[in-house]
């Protein structure tokens, strides 16, 4: 089950991660993929369907730029809609993580004794 949660979480934030990367600098798919692969363990071929979807949703646009070697590269940049989507997704992400932190944040601090657990169980029942 935790595995499924992990996949769902990653799936949900991939778009946000790409928008955030592009808000710092325009980039090409291979570069985006290798940055994401390190951060969220995404298969590198996954980037292309994702970018195509974001492009057809109007969040990113492409242009060609000369590369140091070989043919020109297809670069992606944020559109205004992409910037707006980044802002709203970021706000959602922050409030979500803050809420989850609020729930799980203090678990590490006090180690519950078996006695306290038993008392809690009794209380729950």
């Amino acid at each position: 089950m935790p595995e499924a949660i992990e996949i769902q979480l990653k799936k949900g934030v991939l778009g946000l991660c790409v928008l955030a990367l592009l808000s710092r600098a325009n980039s090409y798919a291979y570069e985006i993929a290798s940055k994401l692969a390190h951060a969220v363990d995404m298969g590198e071929g996954t980037i292309y369907p994702l970018m195509r979807r974001m492009q057809s949703d109007g969040l990113v646009a492409t242009y060609l730029e000369e590369s140091p070697a070989g043919p020109p590269r297809k670069y992606y940049r944020l559109t205004d809609a992409g910037r707006a989507s980044l802002q709203s997704q970021l706000a959602e992400w922050r409030s979500f993580t803050a809420a989850v932190d609020g729930l799980v944040g203090d678990i590490d601090a006090p180690i519950p004794t078996p006695l306290a657990n038993a008392a809690e169980d009794a209380h729950d029942a």
Binding site: E3, K11, Y30, D41, P49, G70
Partner: protein
């Protein structure tokens, strides 16, 4: 697998897509191999990381089919999408076939029957008044119109059911993505 082998199998798998779309995809993966080579990675390693090109092509075809279906709902886009769905070839899709094929047959049969009712209504409307329709001219006109209206109404209902069914199938198909599913587990 070498770069050429990967691209060849991908290109073959994408046959039938609009050539601009397929060229776009091929271009992306060519650029991917080029960029990886600049980093000193081997072709075999990159191909391995990208996954099976045949599988990739089948998933991309379904995705393209879904997109065209969403842009314009017509029998032909529905048909293309459903064929792409079957092309995924997952085991539980094949298990679904004995249910799915009769269902498609029944739907087509119903459409044909409704078309028949519509044409029959038209015939009653036009020919009825002149051929001694029981109940007279007014009854013939009303019966004809009634049949045609009923056929149109049921066709509309059937279209809604069909769209719903196609959407459900495509949703089910998307659950089977392995390669283009964003976020892949067990890659590292």
């Amino acid at each position: 697998m070498t770069r050429d082998e990967f691209l060849r199998r991908l290109r073959r798998g994408l046959e039938g897509l609009p050539s601009a779309a397929s060229a776009d995809v091929i271009g992306d993966y060519e650029a991917h191999f080029d960029a990886a080579r600049d980093e000193g990675r081997s072709e075999a390693e990159v191909a391995e990381a990208l996954g099976d090109p045949g599988r990739l092509a089948r998933e991309l075809r379904l995705e393209a089919g879904i997109k065209r279906w969403e842009e314009g709902r017509s029998p032909s886009t529905a048909w293309t999408a459903v064929i792409a769905f079957l092309g995924l070839g997952a085991i539980d899709i094949l298990v679904l076939l004995p249910i799915l094929l009769p269902a498609i047959g029944v739907l087509i049969g119903l459409y044909v029957a409704l078309l028949g009712v519509f044409i029959g209504g038209g015939a009653v409307l036009i020919a009825g008044p002149f051929s001694g329709f029981p109940g007279g001219v007014a009854a013939a006109l009303l019966a004809g119109l009634g049949l045609m209206a009923a056929a149109v109404a049921f066709t509309a209902l059937l279209v809604i059911v069909t769209i719903w069914l196609v959407n459900a199938l495509l949703w089910f198909g998307r659950l089977h993505y392995r390669i283009i599913k964003p976020a892949i587990d067990g890659q590292g």
